[in-house]
Amino acid sequence: MFDTVEDVQKRLNEQQYICGKNIATVVFLAKALGKPVLVEGPAGVGKTELGKVVAKALNLPMIRLQCYEGLDESKALYEWEYSKQLLYTQMLRDKISEILEGANTLKEASERIASQDDIFFSERFIVPRPLLKAITSEDQVLLLIDEVDKSDPEFEAFLLEVLSDYTVSVPEIGTLEAKHIPLVFLTSNNAREMSDALKRRCLHLYIDYPDEAAEIEILNTKVPGIDSRLVEDIVHLVQRVRELDLKKTPSISETLDWARALMVMNADSLETELVNDTLNIILKHQGDIQKAQSELNRLLEQKAAERAADTPQPVEPDPGKKSVLH
């Protein structure tokens, strides 16, 4: 349990997840109110990571459900183990004839079978899928429903039912109620607008790319031992690149990859050639790379000029003289 919003922030930081107050507030409220959280934002800003980290911070087991087009109840909730049922009928064939022994009419026989059919639709033959697992678990769990926007609208409607009362009804068995209300995180890349009904039941969190200061902090935490000036340069460049009109903007994870790569290459500052060679780590489309390259080279030159300017400067002309000139 979290005590305050600051506590959330601190404990997420301990898990190497740097977040602002807005994220911490939502996490705090989700835990306090027992409401699911819908996390939206561009790809690679740490939406899935947030779920994982919260699970770690609260020491909860995590159950993950990856959504995709065509995901249906039998993959997400439960499935009858058809082959096992069949196998059992085969193996119990003798037993069945025993039960049927002495039955004179067809009606009597079928009644006897009917009195036994419960065993074939018991929890023994159910394969629990993530949602059912999360609900029937003995301890509280964190349920991460990843990329919910990839699922079909029907699945979303069905999810709604599970998330609003945390019960699952299996027609043959009855309604299974959650022993502990799971902490639910849904992530979405906005490939599709989620329905209002689902949104209404969730707290909403929009994570955007971090600003320069936050990204520097993330890099310093996640890539220990990296030169701080290099970090600043990297982040500065990445932030500029994000402003360009690209097919795919570099995400935080790509910034991290880049920093790690540069560290492996023993770079201590960003040289034009080095940047050009490693640009494919943060940009994944040829068109994007071409677009960014010219922009970056300009930036790097500018930077080099600034660095040079940092060394002793010529004395500025007397301001008094200037005004005479005007």
Binding site: T4, V5, L29, E193, C202
Partner: protein
């Protein structure tokens, strides 16, 4: 507090942010869980419970600032100025202290209204409360336009009883004089009260202006967005065009969802008895694996012929955006543009992002000369000569144009041959059917060889056409 939040939700709703009752209740629950000292936390808590669409976040931020702050500072500012306006040697604290002592001595004798009391003690908090109260009582939330600001501020001042308070204060000053207050101090107090009255007048006016801002937020914007769907393609401004993109995107997304459901339903096949038996021979005929008959996905191939002469280019633009946003619903889209010559621009769409591609395509895309006079007959003839073979019974041909042929030979037989080879020929015409065949329009000649020919002059019609005819 709760009332204040409900009021805030009403304002959000007016600005087009959808907030349900359940969400308001959630926000109450959320606020119970946390301290309200931190303004940022409060803002985040309300946002996460009420605003579920990231598009709405900027609007929320603006409204939050308008609603939850600001006025208090405005009032304080005005009062501060009133005090500062009294001159350098004026000492408010000293005057206040003197006043307090005298008032304490006179206890019971003075009969001051609430407003007068608040003014005397220059108390911004209670003044703010009084102004809010007056706002509510005079129905300020009904304010709709600029012209009403004067009316409502006057009404609020009346409601607050500013005139009465003035009289009240004069009486009070008389009493103070009797109680032995110096003339200098009295004059100063009089000046101060006048200044505060002025400050109040200005603040009330500002209060009304802010209220108007809140109530009217984004109203025009939303109105435009909605009406864009029904605005004729002929009267779009540059600005509209930009906004239209977003609207088209949203419609396309919606359509995609519908189509995905529709497809899914079709895909789910029936139980295949024969297949199941055959597959399970190995298990001694015990049906371990069930086979379902899968239906063949039938995604249409599309050939689009766009007239890019200026009279129809807008229709072409949005149709192209539509179709290419829905790319996954089709197996293949080939796009041709024509004025008099005809050229294929499919490559452009493959290599560029959609907006650049559309702009290029509508500019002739380096394959044709866009600055000629429309000649449908010639364009169809070129298609017939070079591309007729690519049509098959799964291809839908969509032609966008007004069929104004500049009195050239229509060569309708080309279209006839196209129709006989393709699955469908659909003609989208931005002109009303009444005008077909008049003047240089040869639509009447072409109509015979189309499966569907429809008028399409705004977005709504366009999206309906795409939905019913093509998908």
């Amino acid at each position: 507090m709760q009332r204040k939040i409900v009021e805030f939700t009403n304002i959000l709703r007016k600005a087009g942010v959808r907030v349900s009752v359940a969400e308001t209740i959630d926000s109450f629950l959320a606020l119970d869980e946390m301290s309200l000292d931190d303004r940022e936390l409060f803002k985040d808590a309300l946002r996460t419970t009420m605003v579920k669409h990231w598009d709405d976040i900027p609007a929320y931020d603006r409204l939050f600032d308008l609603f939850w702050s600001g006025f208090h500072d405005v009032l304080r500012d005005e009062l501060g100025q009133a005090v500062a306006g009294m001159g350098g040697d004026f000492d408010l604290d000293q005057l206040m202290q003197q006043l307090q002592e005298l008032l304490a001595n006179m206890d019971g004798d003075v009969d001051l209204s609430e407003l007068a009391r608040a003014m005397l003690s220059v108390d911004a908090n209670s003044l703010e409360q009084l102004i809010q109260q007056a706002g509510e009582e005079s129905g300020l939330d009904g304010i709709r336009n600029m012209l009403q600001i004067g009316f409502f501020s006057r009404r609020m001042l009346e409601q607050m009883g500013l005139e009465g308070a003035g009289e009240n204060l004069r009486d009070m000053m008389e009493q103070l004089r009797e109680a032995g207050m110096g003339e200098d101090d009295l004059a100063r107090l009089g000046d101060l009260m006048k200044a505060i009255q002025e400050a109040l007048r200005r603040s009330v006016r500002q209060y009304a202006e802010r209220e108007l801002d809140k109530q009217n937020h984004d109203y025009m914007e939303r109105f435009r967005r909605e009406s864009l769907q029904e605005k004729s393609f002929y009267n779009l401004t540059e600005d509209d065009l930009r906004k239209m993109r977003e609207v088209v995107d949203r419609l396309a997304q919606k359509l995609k969802n519908i189509v995905s459901i529709r497809r899914k339903r079709q895909r789910k096949g029936k139980f295949d008895l024969k297949g199941t038996m055959r597959r399970n021979m190995a298990h001694g005929g015990v049906p371990f694996e069930l086979i379902f008959r899968q239906r063949r996905k039938d995604r249409p191939k599309l050939v689009v012929l766009c007239d890019i002469s200026s009279s129809v280019s807008n229709v072409s633009r949005f149709f192209l955006q539509f179709i290419h946003s829905l790319q996954e619903c089709f197996t293949k889209i080939r796009t041709f543009v024509f004025v008099a010559e005809l050229g294929e621009v499919t490559e452009i769409f493959r290599n560029n992002d959609i907006y650049t591609a559309i702009d290029q395509a509508l500019d002739g895309g380096d394959v044709i000369n866009p600055y000629t006079r429309s000649n449908f007959g010639m364009a169809f003839n070129v298609f017939w000569r070079d591309h007729l073979a690519s049509l098959d019974n799964r291809t839908t041909v969509v032609i966008i144009g007004d069929a104004r042929n500049n009195y050239n030979d229509p060569r309708a037989w080309c279209l006839r041959d196209m129709q006989s080879k393709a699955k469908n020929v659909i003609w989208i015409n931005p002109e009303a059917p009444g005008a077909w065949g008049f003047g240089d329009s040869v639509m009447d000649r072409y109509v015979t060889y189309t499966d569907v020919a429809e008028e399409c002059r705004n977005l709504k019609q366009l999206s309906r056409m795409v939905d019913t005819l093509i998908l």
